[in-house]
Symmetry: C2
């Protein structure tokens, strides 16, 4: 290890993994340590499928050590399962939760994002978000439990509260969750209950702005809204949530205030940078945006700290195209991957005495699924302009794009079979929860 540059990567999401892959090729120059709280890489775009019992957790996640086995073989990578507690930028080291310290020459922070409850952290207990496998199991358990509790209720009002599902936030995750919950109630669970009709379940999607999928063009938002309504989802745009307590959700709009009795609420509204962004702000005075993301230089490093890069969902980064205004980079997986490769290349440039390059995001488009046979696709085709479509063909496109990008051939195969099966049978195979839950 003598003489090699020590690069420490925090986080093994899309950004961290790509950074490690790119760096490991420079086996004579860098010695890499990858630290993550968990033992797995998670394909977050399909996490809602785990939450709604369509896929098992292993189908969309893989052990980091297995995924990075080719890089391990190169001999310059150490993987540690540990949580970073503090970053000591002047001393160039991080402290882990158990007190161990790791020194670095270059640090790449790819710690991702968490939920933001807009100052109402007390809502977290009643309205779980969807970022980790634990979150997904939590939501799966609540959804399964809600139908079970409804079946046991004699009182119609209490029963309806169990059969009311509220999804807050109509970005891609919220839209996927609402569409899939409605599909479960209207197809998967039909005729499995004696006392309730699962089709009586209500799925209410609440959005603060005036349209769903705000990152798409208005015409596609409109198509997605129509598809959601066809799937039975009740849409409430222009609604601000004011209260969540596990028994009901209150929200207000220009039309007034509404209280909806519901025990099952999914939070898909706010995203906030990982707490490590705050640690960087405290340690080196990094600037955070309103969502707690770290403002970075064009080359993804920190101002005054070229040895620290921030990438992925934690970075408030811009894309630099010659001759155009810098544009904000969206929080999607292709952007995180590209940032990982760009940051790694800049680390190598620095240690070779070269000038670093600004990050340029190659935007291949934007996809979101709404539910069975329903999706919207917005592709940028170089030279042709935008290619936009929705409905069945968009859904097929979404399906194959996601399977293609799922890491590892085996996962792809299993997911393909699971989905082909689910498509024909409406069955959701992962509808098991480890143990009973007495109440919401």
């Amino acid at each position: 290890m003598s003489g090699k540059t020590r690069v420490l990567v925090i986080g093994c999401g899309f950004g961290g993994i790509e950074a490690v892959r790119a760096l490991s090729r420079a086996r004579d120059e860098v010695e890499i340590t990858l630290v993550d709280r968990t033992n797995h890489h998670l394909f977050q775009p399909l996490l809602y499928q785990v939450a709604t019992a369509g896929l098992s957790a292993p189908a969309i996640s893989g052990p980091i050590r297995h995924i990075l086995r080719p890089q391990m073989r190169r001999g310059n990578l150490t993987i540690l399962q540990a949580e970073v507690k503090a970053i000591d930028a002047p001393g160039r080291r991080v402290t882990l939760h158990d007190g161990e310290q790791l020194a670095y020459d270059h640090l790449i922070v790819a710690a991702g994002a968490t939920h933001s409850y807009f100052g109402h952290d007390e809502w977290a207990a009643h309205a779980p978000g969807l970022k980790t496998l634990t979150d997904a199991f939590n939501i799966r358990q609540r959804v399964v439990n809600a139908f079970e509790q409804a079946e046991r209720c004699e009182d119609p009002a209490r029963r309806q509260a169990w059969l009311t599902f509220v999804v807050i936030g109509a970005g891609p995750t919220g839209v996927e969750m609402a569409g899939t919950l409605s599909e479960m109630a209207r197809h998967t669970l039909v005729s499995e209950f004696r006392r309730i009709d699962s089709r009586e379940a209500r799925v209410v999607l609440v959005e603060g702005s005036d349209r769903v999928l705000g990152s798409f063009v208005p015409a596609l938002s409109q198509r997605a809204a129509e598809q959601l309504q066809k799937l039975g989802v009740e849409l409430r745009t222009g609604c601000r949530v004011t209260h969540i307590d596990g028994d009901s959700v209150r929200f207000e709009s220009t039309a007034g205030t509404e209280a909806l009795p519901s025990h099952t609420v999914v939070w898909a509204a706010g995203v906030a940078g990982s707490p490590l962004g705050r640690a960087l702000a405290d340690s080196v005075g990094a600037t955070l945006d309103r969502a707690g993301r770290v403002l970075v230089q064009p080359d993804l490093s920190l101002e005054g700290h070229p040895e620290i890069s921030v990438i992925g969902d934690l970075a408030a980064a811009k894309s630099y195209t010659p001759g155009a205004e810098p544009r904000p980079v969206p929080g999607v997986s292709p952007a995180a991957k590209q940032m990982g490769r760009s940051a790694a290349a800049n680390v190598l440039r620095r240690l070779r005495g070269q000038t670093t390059q600004p990050f340029r995001y190659a935007d291949y488009g934007n996809l979101a699924t709404v539910g069975r046979k329903a999706a919207v696709v917005d592709l940028g085709v170089p030279g042709l302009g935008a290619l936009r479509f929705s409905g069945y063909f968009a859904w097929l496109f979404w399906l194959f794009a996601h399977i293609y990008f799922l890491i590892g051939f085996r996962n792809r195969l299993i997911v393909l079979i699971d989905w082909a099966w689910a498509y024909w049978t409406f069955e959701r195979n992962a509808r098991v929860v480890p143990q009973a839950q007495d109440h919401a």
Copy 2:
């Protein structure tokens, strides 16, 4: 529902499911309620595969409501997810944990078994058993975590404690666990670590009696012991565990006392009847055997309470063959299924005014796997006597028998693919744990 006999079935393991299936055909005579704590039926014979990350939970379990959909359609079945707290036999009703009461005319108790720590309940926290999905996830997390902790250890003694796995009890579950853990260390994880060599892991299988797989003939026990040793498992027969505290395990034999530093201990030694056996003893004076199982009449009912049947692992039942001595029924899934069908038939006989029939166990043999390409098989072939074999062919036989009996075509297909893949690659696909664990 007027005039129909209300049959309440507690538990949806192999026994409960079969009882419901048989009863539901008598749609004009009985009204069935099935109560279970969980929402799923679990294929327990493969649970060790979930614990050792070879299979995902949904591959070996299915929602009860989905499995019993054909029976639901007959219109005389209600399924409730709830836990039974007490049985009021004189009043013919059970009380659920939330206070709700369910009345019955006939009760079938199929609540299964739990672990017994032989009076040392304080060991449970350090040495989880393997009966539920929660147990399996717990063990999977501990095993994954142990290798991660070892990778982070500088001290060789502490490292070795993390790399020492102790399995207590060499019945089928203990043998499967030990063999598979050794396979993980020697194949799956090789070259995924930087600081440790996973092959340095020790897997120690501790057994109180003088041989493994005591329910098999001695020759097959001997073959299983040889196969285990070939897989690298250290066998300690004739050893009694005297202490487990999460940092070490102490056991004594005629050779003396030994203390083995280990943080990862799996309990596969003692089985005890569900606490509902005790509830029956308190309510109607049912007699329990030493393992807490309920002694039943030849027709699987309780003495003095023909309206209560106990089946499956909770029953200390005997098999009655004309002209032969009654023989104890083993705690295996074919026996539970047969008891379920027999109890259901006797319920119908009773309500039709016919005489109940004694239970007769059709024993098709006994299988146990040791690990990759290693198993023992003991088949009773009518007219031919015993057919016994071990090794590769026994393993193939074991494999297909288990896939065949897995409920539901889809599960079978997924398991087959998972296993075919694992066979060629040594990969274990479910090696993800939801979140980090700081310590054992």
